[in-house]
């Protein structure tokens, strides 16, 4: 049991545009411990994706100004030089993006991308190859798939390859930005099971950004609900979905179809039956 959290955001403000701009995101406090799954949700435009990208230091590229403090394993990320940040991305933290194809170069076999990333973070060639194969095995894909091009794999398989890479790199924090919203439900279930395995094996923590509260409820320890760029509620998942406090949480819950034990299907009928 370590007392210090793996990731700690304090008074983080993100703003775009000319100087005295209202921050699009203002997080007072948000924490993530080792091996913890934190769900981040909210309506479109609430700042979910911005939160994930800010943690990775990627909003800078979009011209955002970030103030406050983001500490990852005790290191301050705000104001960290880009070179140092780049080294952290891939060794300590990694992104699983919404569009799985975006993570891989379309003109290279996926294995080449994986091997390059591993070698960049200090593996020898043989070691990289071994780790990549082991990672693929862990996500239940044949190692031959490393020789395939992104377009030859399905969205689910690509997403699993991305997770294989993250596990081969041994990252401690995964930022998953709507990783399953372009997948069908069965592929989604497989991805979620894999993330849980990754946590059990390596103690990986996951910041899981999604609009799907039902998915987060089943997967995460805690859920933070964002509303207009602020944290409206940040509580244990089970508590939050059964006894929501904030109005925006209630609105999100109301939108989730078919709560267990309350059979749906009342939506049809011309009103004449």
């Amino acid at each position: 049991m370590t007392a210090a959290p793996l990731l700690e955001l304090r008074d983080v403000r993100v703003s775009f545009g000319p100087e005295p701009a209202e921050p699009v995101l203002h997080i007072g406090e948000l924490m993530l411990r080792r091996a913890e799954f934190l769900g981040v949700t909210g309506q479109s435009g609430a700042g979910k994706t911005t939160t994930g990208l800010t943690v990775l230091g990627l909003t800078r590229h979009a011209g955002a100004r970030v103030t406050g403090s983001i500490r990852l394993a005790g290191e301050e990320l705000v104001g960290m030089p880009e070179r140092r940040l780049r080294r952290l991305r891939g060794s300590v933290m990694a992104l699983i993006p919404q569009n799985p194809a975006a993570a891989f170069s379309p003109v290279l076999p996926v294995g080449t991308t994986v091997l390059r990333a591993l070698r960049l973070h200090g593996c020898t060639r043989a070691e990289a190859r071994h780790r990549a194969a082991a990672g693929m095995e862990r996500v239940g894909l044949p190692a031959e798939y490393l020789t395939r091009f992104p377009h030859q794999l399905s969205g689910g398989q690509l997403q699993r390859t991305a997770i294989a890479l993250a596990s081969a790199l041994g990252v401690r924090l995964l930022v998953a930005d709507e990783p399953t919203s372009s997948l069908d439900v069965t592929a989604q279930a497989r991805i979620c099971a894999l993330l849980a395995e990754l946590r059990a094996a390596h103690g990986t923590a996951v910041l899981f950004v999604s609009h799907d509260l039902a998915l987060l409820a089943g997967l995460c320890d805690r859920i933070a609900v964002l509303h207009r760029g602020r944290v409206a509620e940040d509580r244990p998942a089970a508590e939050l979905v059964t006894a929501p406090r904030a109005d925006c949480t209630r609105a999100l819950l109301a939108a989730v179809p078919g709560r267990a034990g309350e059979g749906g299907g009342e939506g049809y009928g011309y009103g004449d039956g």
Binding site: Q43, G155, G156, L183, Q188, A254, V256, R259, G261, G269
Partner: protein, 272 residues
């Protein structure tokens, strides 16, 4: 098979023995499916790559099947004359809200164009009807002047629905109409579709990978896997006792919230 409901349901749109092959591989393999007239809707579920979208395109006459026929009121759609009559009867709403609308055309013009092509309203009165159609889907007349990129995903989907309804179809094929949208927007669009279905007496085929979406919209369901219908029946029965592993997988993969203490949010689509 388990067809219950009000009296004899004759199919309005029917696929008979559809086979579609691309380069030797069968995408659809002898698929037969009947969409009954009436309010209860038919859901079609399946994983990605099961052939759902190809089936939808066949039903719309956008892909010619290698084998088999699609029938509207018992008539082969390839023989309906003029072909436009078929377009008036069956419409589609697809998943890709951004791609389905011409990026260079204001959405009002896109709807007016359909009215004009089918001569549905007297010349010069299109914009009034466009405003009416937009109001039907919960948009205001001002939205008519916007380009698709100036609208949100949900608003674009509303425009696509309004455009489909412009021809006053009897049948609507909904191909993953909410999969690209956030849960809250998804709920609103489904509620809208439910209301429009009742108001315009539409027979709807809802295609989705998400049982929860189908569950709140349809009474019957068919399950497609590897281009074949592997199970069909009353949705409640299929959910309770799925007979095919694919169905079970689709059912169990759905994330569900634990039961809420209050149930007031349970039925977002109150019947009209």
């Amino acid at each position: 098979m388990g067809k219950t409901g009000t009296g004899p349901e004759r199919p309005v749109l029917e696929a008979r023995d559809l086979t579609v092959t691309y380069g030797g591989a069968a995408v659809l393999d002898r698929v037969s499916l009947a969409l009954p007239v009436g309010p209860y809707g038919l859901g079609l579920i399946g994983e990605s790559g099961s052939g759902k979208t190809t089936l939808a395109r066949c039903l719309l006459g956008l892909v010619a099947p290698t084998h088999g026929t699609v029938l509207l009121d018992g008539v082969d759609i390839a023989r309906i004359r003029p072909p436009r009559a078929f377009r008036r009867a069956v419409q589609i709403v697809v998943q890709d809200t951004e791609g389905a609308l011409d990026p260079r055309m204001r959405v009002g013009a896109a709807i007016a164009e359909v009215l004009r092509a089918h001569r549905l309203v007297p010349r010069g009165t299109e914009h009034a009807r466009v405003a009416e159609l937009l109001a039907d889907v919960g948009l205001s007349a001002e939205h008519a002047a916007r380009f698709p990129h100036q609208l949100s995903g949900g608003q674009r989907q509303r425009v696509a629905i309004a455009r489909a309804l412009a021809v006053r179809p009897r049948c609507l094929v909904l191909d993953e109409p909410t999969s690209a949208l956030d849960t809250t927007v998804q709920a609103r669009i489904l509620r809208l579709l439910g209301a429009l279905r009742a108001e315009h007496r539409l027979s709807c085929l809802l295609i989705s990978h998400d049982l929860l979406v189908v569950e709140r919209f349809c009474r019957h369901v068919a399950v497609l896997q590897h281009g074949r219908i592997v199970e069909e029946g009353l949705l409640a029965d299929v959910l309770r006792t799925p007979r095919h592993p694919a169905t079970r997988r689709l059912r169990d993969a759905v994330p569900r919230l634990p039961a809420a203490p209050r149930s007031s949010h349970a039925s977002p689509d109150p019947p009209r």
